[in-house]
Each structure stands twice: as structure tokens, then as C-alpha cells.
Subunit: 334 residues, 2 copies
């Protein structure tokens, strides 16, 4: 009997590596074949481990977030490190889930004078200009706050690496983008440019800093992650600080809020956050690695994402959106 | 006290119309101000009403799907109408939820000889070429099956309307696209073209036909919807037949499957589908309208999506992805 209605109709899309010598190479084949030298270990000190209250049947719900490296968003990330060190996030909650948009967590009483949780001392007020890192090789063009960063030389070097990536000419990476002159992957992250400046972009699973109206830019005490189509209109308007490495499904599958903007209407609907710790302070944490976006394996991966030729595909796309090719991340036992 | 951590930090993104005369116009302002003549009623006979088993606390979970109009995918849509008429979908289940990809429903025993649910007689086998509708104004260039469609003249007229939309020159609609020469909205749907042919695109909430490996194209008995970043690589490779009009949150918030490709590993995890009926056979169904993609209001909406200038935004994007500006749909009491 011909099975018109296979239980695995999309099998070829994400199948594990099964490619024989005569079969077309899939993106997963490329990832599986990448040499160890093309993978980069994520420092545990750049991981934020967020334990939600257990789910149905007491199932643990751990979300691991990778913070972004220099030159991006280091002002807010410094604040977030202080908030984690002060255990400030412990006891807050997921307060908003808006379908095809964001999951947001913070202090449910943050707007209520007298009830709002006190922030630790010494948080930076980051200027709007820091939403993007300017192209200039002269740090005098950078905002004053940024110029005070201790590792300024390292930041300039990192920016130069980003610029170098945009000079590279991998065909699939030159796919047109509706929001920028160019968008590709650099230092392990999705990045865009208008030619004058560079910025990280709002893809699925990216983590950003909630804020009020401009010129407020947020402290980092209220965070969100994207759970739908990339809201690229937020690029350069809200600071991105990281991405979900594992546990995304515990956030993306939460019930949608029924209040305005997807806020929960009752406290009972909120998901409590039990604790947030840096990965370096969590004993049993596995190690995580990402595929270097500067590696030959990554270039091959992007090429295969743009040009699927295995038997499931009739028409290769010929291009790929920067948010439709997540940087591969794998868990490795420490 | 300065509220760095507002409970409504993204308020301006999706706020209802609050614009005073001196405030910048938002996309929602445009939708709210659109005259009745710019809205199109969706015929109840083009709506598919899918009732899932009740959720927690017995909450009803109704999903309403709009089927696509000619000239797209009418072969599969004819099959789906036959399946609904035969009550074939009643008693099947959501079998797969893969994060940032798809929710899929079908016969859980579809692959098991002897157990698979018998399909109604008379379903069409739709050829691969029907994944796209060719540009040619000469129906002799269309696949033989398509040429047998009863309303061939109407299909040609519809294609001509699509072509006409692509000749229009609204600046925001000319945003670059990684997957096609051009992508915009026509006849109420997101559509792309390579210059020679036109096809509907895989945006969040679009509904498509599960299939096995080529040349199988699926019958329509197994369907999926997109719950993440638009998987545009599926365009022209799998048939799209509709979109979720309401109730998307009941699908997108389902627990992710832990088996390969997000399939559930036990029958208990599946969400049963109680019944699927055409809207014309459901007594208490509200009416739904979409904003005509050929209207001046829609052009203004797209322009505002591409160029947000209200106080939340510091940097207008200057462009918009075809999947990041859903066609506005509203419920109206019948």
C-alpha cells in the first residue's frame, strides 16, 4: 500500500546523518563530520543556568543561556553578571508569553512602588548608542561608557574580526536581507551591518533586555527570548545579550498569556524562576560547544542549508536567511 | 523611582490604537482606521474548524484554518474538502511537535498496514509541478491535472491578479528576500516569485501537506503548521494549503515531542482531534475578515511595519520580511 500519509513525511529535513557515499550531503552530515578543531568550547562563565519551577510530574526545567562576547552589549551583560552574583533573579517569574513573539521574565512587582525588588548597587546605565557598535577603528567614536570598558583593546580586536567576516565572500552568506545591507554569522553569532555599524540580530531563541520607552535602555533585570518569526524590527532598538543554548522548549511551550501583549492576568499563571547561576557555579553542568562561524565546516553548513539537494527536496532554495540557519551547538560531557 | 524594569517594556510594539494627532502612526493604528471596504469576509466554506480535545480544566481548544484560494494548491485542497466531508479527520491526533519548526497532525497508525485509517475514495494524486503555479498566461503550460480543474478561467484570472501585485511598486514591499527574486502579499497571502513562477511561502501559522519522499506529494490527510522561524527552504517543496486564523496558541504551546523530529514517543502525549468541519457546517462560528492586500490600508500597514517611528523605536528598520508582517485578520460577529 502506498503510504500517502507517512508518519514521517518530513523525515529528510532533519534526519540524523545517514548519508551513504552516493547520497547528497545534508547540513546535519556537515555538522557530524566537522573536525574537533572547528568547535569552540563555551566558557562556563559565559553560561547562565536558569532553573524554572518543575513542570508536570515534577519534571526539571533547566534553561541554559549563553551570554554574548565582546564587542556586543557588554554594558548590559556586566549588569546581568552582577544580578546573577547577587542572586537577584531567584524568585522572579515568567510574566509574559505572546505567541509568535516573546517570552519575558522579570519582577512581577517591578512597576509597583514599595513592592518592587531592590536592584543591586552599581548597575550601569547604558547609553542608547551602545545598541550598536560603530564601525570606526578609532575608539574615540565609541560612546563614552564603552570607552571605559576595561578590555577596550580586546573589543577593538573583536570588532575587527566581525568586519573581516563581512569581507568574506561565501555565496550562500550573501543572501539578501530585508533589514540590513548584509547579515551573516561572526564570532559565533548572527550579525548584520548597514555598512557603517554592526549589530546582533533578533533570531529565534535570542535573549534581549526588556526596557521602557527611549531613552531608557533597560538594566538587564528583565529579559525576553524570541519564540516566533524573527522580530528584526527590534534590531538596534533593544539590546541583545545572549541566546538559549538548551531548554528553549520549556519557555516556547508555555501557555500564552491572555492579557494585553501576552502578559499573564493572574499570578497563578506565572512560571516561577527558582534560581539563576553562572555555569561556573553549577557543579553538574555539561559542556557546550558551538561550531566556529569562521570555520570551513560552517561555510559548508550554510551552503547546504541554502541548497538542499537530498531526495526530499525538489527545488533547492538558493539562499538562506540569517535567522533560518542557527549556529550549531552541541553538548559534550565535561 | 525610575522603573528600569517595567512590566510593560515592549508596550509600544503592539499597543492598541492610542495615537493622538501628534503621535506617530503605528501599524495597529492603520489597521484600526482601515475602512470597512478594505476588509474581505472569509467565506465560511473556506474555513476548516478543528476542535482539539479540551485542555487543562476542560478548556475548549478550537483552531480555525483558512484554506487558500485559487490559483494555489487547489488539488490538495479538493482532497482536504473530501476528507472533511467524510469526517475522516475525526479521531486522529497531533503526533509531532518540533520546536522552532512544525506541529503536525495525522493518523498515528498511518504507517501501519492493517491499522491505517482508510482514506475516502476519489482523492487526487497531485503532481509535483503543482507545487507552484507557472507564470504562463497559457493554461497549456500548466500541469494536466491543473488543466482539468473546473474553474480554469477563474484560476487564470487569479494568477493574473497575483502577477499584477508584483508589478506594483510600494517601496517597503520591495524589501530584499533571501529565497526569491521578490516576495510580497497577494490575494490576502504571502507569495514569492523567481520571475517565472509564483508560490505561497512558509510563514508562521501557514498550514501545509505532509508527504513522503518525492515524487509523493501527500494527499492532504496529514497536515502541519509552522511554529517558528519561517522554514522557507520548504517553499516549492511541500504544498501549502492554508493558515491558522485563530487558535494558533493551542498548537504552538503544546509540549515538544522527545522522539526523532519531535514525534511523540507515547500515545498518551498526543493531543486528540475530536472533529474537523467546514465553517459552513458550524452553527456558532463568528465571521472572519482579512485586510485586502490590494488595499491602500494594507500598503500603509506594510510601510509602518517597515518604518516604526513611535517613541519605542530609535532606529526604523527600513524594510520588512514577508513573514514578519502577517496579513491582518479580525473576528466579526456574524
Amino acid at each position: 500500500m502506498r503510504t500517502f500519509f507517512s508518519a514521517l513525511p518530513l523525515a529528510a529535513l532533519a534526519a540524523p546523518s545517514l548519508a551513504a557515499a552516493d547520497k547528497p550531503v545534508t547540513p546535519n552530515d556537515v555538522i557530524d563530520a566537522a573536525p574537533a578543531s572547528d568547535w569552540r568550547r563555551i566558557a562556563p562563565g559565559d553560561l547562565m543556568v536558569m532553573d524554572l519551577a518543575p513542570g508536570a510530574k515534577g519534571k526539571p526545567r533547566r534553561v541554559v543561556i549563553q551570554l554574548m562576547p565582546a564587542p556586543f552589549s557588554q554594558g548590559w551583560i556586566g549588569n546581568i553578571r552582577k544580578l546573577v552574583a547577587a542572586h537577584w533573579f531567584d524568585g522572579i517569574a515568567v510574566v509574559r508569553v505572546q505567541d509568535n513573539y516573546v517570552v519575558q521574565w522579570g519582577d512581577p512587582d517591578g512597576e509597583t512602588p514599595g513592592k518592587a525588588k531592590t536592584l543591586p548597587a552599581g548597575l550601569a546605565v547604558v547609553p542608547e548608542r551602545s545598541y550598536q557598535v560603530t564601525l570606526s577603528r578609532d575608539p574615540n567614536d565609541w560612546p563614552e561608557t564603552d570607552r571605559r570598558w576595561p578590555k577596550i583593546a580586546g573589543h577593538i580586536h573583536a570588532l575587527q574580526q566581525v568586519m573581516k567576516r563581512f569581507d568574506q565572500a561565501s555565496p550562500a552568506e550573501r543572501s539578501p536581507d530585508a533589514y540590513a545591507r548584509a547579515a551573516k554569522w561572526a564570532l559565533g553569532w548572527p550579525v548584520a551591518t548597514n555598512g557603517a555599524s554592526y549589530w546582533p540580530v533578533h533570531c529565534y531563541g535570542m535573549v534581549g533586555v526588556g526596557r521602557n520607552l527611549s531613552p531608557d535602555t533597560g538594566t538587564g533585570a528583565e529579559l525576553y527570548t524570541v519564540i516566533g518569526q524573527a522580530p528584526r524590527q527590534l534590531d538596534r532598538n533593544i539590546a541583545l545579550v545572549g541566546r538559549i543554548v538548551t531548554g528553549m522548549e520549556y519557555l516556547s511551550s508555555l501557555p500564552r498569556g491572555t492579557g494585553a501583549l501576552g502578559f499573564y492576568e493572574t499570578p497563578e499563571e506565572r512560571t516561577p524562576i527558582v534560581s539563576v547561576r553562572m555555569g561556573s557555579d553549577v557543579a553538574d553542568l555539561p559542556a557546550y560547544e558551538y561550531l566556529s562561524t569562521e570555520s570551513a565546516s560552517f561555510a559548508a553548513y550554510i551552503d547546504k542549508r541554502a541548497n538542499r539537494k537530498d531526495s526530499f527536496y525538489i527545488q533547492p532554495a538558493g539562499g538562506v536567511d540569517v535567522c533560518n540557519a542557527p549556529v550549531p551547538i552541541r553538548m559534550v560531557k565535561p
